[in-house]
Point group: C2
Chain length 135, copies 2
């Protein structure tokens, strides 16, 4: 990593992600930034998003299918992914450290980190589904 210069585009991308709580995709960021910088390219968005991830200012969430998502919350936490609408919500879990210790007990090798992701149906989809059944 060489020295970094200021860029208005990067500033705007950082602000967008930090104020967006929907765990946006690169495309969503692109669409958002285009309102301010109509000529910005998707390549620039991708380049800056990975840069911000490297700097630890945002976080990348890989999903099973579909594009990566980005998270302004850099504190340790888990994610819930709705299998119906693909929305992602944060979940706070108390004391998740000991899971690594438990795993380490039956494992040869050095465990450095772990990620837990939950799947299910979000509140909004549950509500929509119950409307459908009533009809």
């Amino acid at each position: 990593m060489a020295t970094m210069k200021y860029s208005r585009q990067r500033e705007s991308i950082r602000d967008f992600v930090h104020s967006c709580h929907e765990h946006p995709t690169a495309d969503m960021v692109y669409a958002g930034i285009r309102e301010e910088f109509p000529n910005i390219s998707l390549g620039t968005v991708y380049r800056n998003l990975s840069l911000l991830v490297e700097l630890g200012e945002i976080t990348k969430i890989s999903t099973d299918s579909g594009p990566d998502r980005f998270d302004c919350n850099t504190k340790p936490h888990s994610h819930f992914i709705c299998t119906q609408c693909q929305c992602i919500r944060d979940i706070e879990l108390p004391d998740t450290e000991y899971i690594e210790k438990m795993a380490a007990e039956n494992f040869d090798g050095e465990i450095i980190s772990h990620v837990t992701t939950f799947y299910g149906i979000c509140k909004d989809c549950l509500r929509k589904n119950s409307f459908k059944k009533e009809a």
Copy 2:
């Protein structure tokens, strides 16, 4: 899902995955099957792998970067992914159910499943690294 016909290719793909304990990628399966069916196409491999996943005979593992991997072990277990060589190892964890209960307590919505993945350096890479340092 309509009725399914027998195919020698599918049979071979199933056998290959069930006897391969390295969590192969679609490409690795393709390469393996080609020894028996030199004309098989990658499309057929992909089609059959997803079919076998749907049938619950094998499991798909999505990774942060790089291709999906396939697992003959359909019993609930976790994975360790080596961030150096990308190898995947199974990890057995006792009682992982209560994590979902814990998560459900602070969450509006229906949690149906969860996946925990561990990251670190596998035994083999640790050994290789220590050789390098000595040199």
